[in-house]
């Protein structure tokens, strides 16, 4: 028995990890923001920290969150996905909080952070990015849940990819000896 029976959708659709398919785009954009936010924070803190300390510390914090999200989204293991959910959530709350703060109290922000004005300096990408990140992670959480449910009901029909994804995130070669042994046929 081959894996399309277990999960035809999974077998037919290209994304087999959090970094492929739409995840490829997400990781690219997160990587871009990780790079630009950390470079910006590094220069700001190294050259003119006293000018806008709050803004620069927040820039550095945003940079750390972006790096974490980039790494965990491209890793995709269950643990990495949990960390990614936390970092995307922190990112979303951060954009909303810092965005509101920067508008309510402009004096604290003589220089902009990535999240100032809800990310208006970056085309509001910082505002929508965590939403797409969380949607993508939810898609994966559902998929892992479905896979483990399928495995519990009929172990032989579990899709190797998805089952492996819920264990360690690595794709295993299909048709392994273990699976054929457990195959009812």
């Amino acid at each position: 028995m081959s894996e399309p029976v277990a999960s035809p959708k999974t077998a037919a659709s290209p994304p087999e990890s959090t970094r492929t398919g739409p995840g490829r785009l997400l990781v690219a954009v997160y990587g871009l923001f990780a790079l630009s936010a950390s470079a910006r924070a590094a220069v700001q803190i190294a050259t003119k920290f006293s000018h806008a300390p709050v803004a620069y510390v927040l820039s550095a914090f945003a940079a750390v969150v972006y790096i974490l999200a980039t790494v965990t989204l491209s890793n995709g293991s269950p643990t990495a996905r949990r960390i990614a959910v936390v970092s995307c959530s922190v990112e979303f709350v951060g954009v909303l909080a810092v965005g509101t703060w920067s508008i309510a109290d402009p004096a604290t922000f003589p220089d902009a952070t990535v999240w100032s004005g809800y990310g208006s300096g970056y085309g509001f990408v910082p505002l929508v990015l965590p939403i797409f990140g969380l949607l993508w992670l939810r898609h994966w959480a559902k998929r892992a849940k479905r896979a483990s449910a399928e495995r519990a009901i009929m172990p032989s029909a579990g899709d190797a990819d998805v089952v492996a994804g819920s264990v360690d995130g690595d794709a295993h070669p299909t048709g392994s000896p273990v699976r054929s042994v457990r195959d009812p046929e």
Binding site: P15, G23, R24, L32, A39
Partner: protein, 121 residues
């Protein structure tokens, strides 16, 4: 410094990003045309980097030299990294990564102008 090269890069990279997005919309994978397009973008960016370095060598100084140097290093890497990352993808999301590189390049040129107004756009 004439604004011809930066302006050309902005126009080209936006058009290129539009083409890559069209490929995504049409459900196409990465192909030769996108790789060639990326190569052209890379050459244009290297020409701009060369012009800016020449201006620095002539004694010109931007308000923040570390920022400019960071941009000079990072900018030519954008099409390269996007090319590798996008080529790994065997779906419509490969061209989508390339579109991000095009948009990012256009934004980077505008930022170049902001960090050193001598770089006209």
């Amino acid at each position: 410094m004439s604004g011809a090269v930066p302006t050309t890069i902005i126009v080209y990279s936006l058009a290129f990003a539009g083409y890559a997005l069209l490929m995504t919309a049409l459900n196409r994978r990465m192909g030769l045309s996108l790789l060639v397009g990326l190569g052209v973008l890379e050459i244009l960016l290297l020409v701009l980097v060369g012009m800016i370095v020449a201006r620095l060598a002539d004694g010109g100084r931007p308000p923040s030299l570390p920022t400019l140097i960071g941009y000079l290093i990072a900018t030519p890497l954008v099409p390269l990294i996007a090319g590798f990352w996008g080529a790994l993808e065997r779906s419509r999301w490969g061209p989508a990564v390339i579109a991000v590189a095009g948009l990012a390049s256009a934004v980077l040129i505008v930022r170049f102008h902001e960090i050193w107004p001598a770089i006209h756009v």
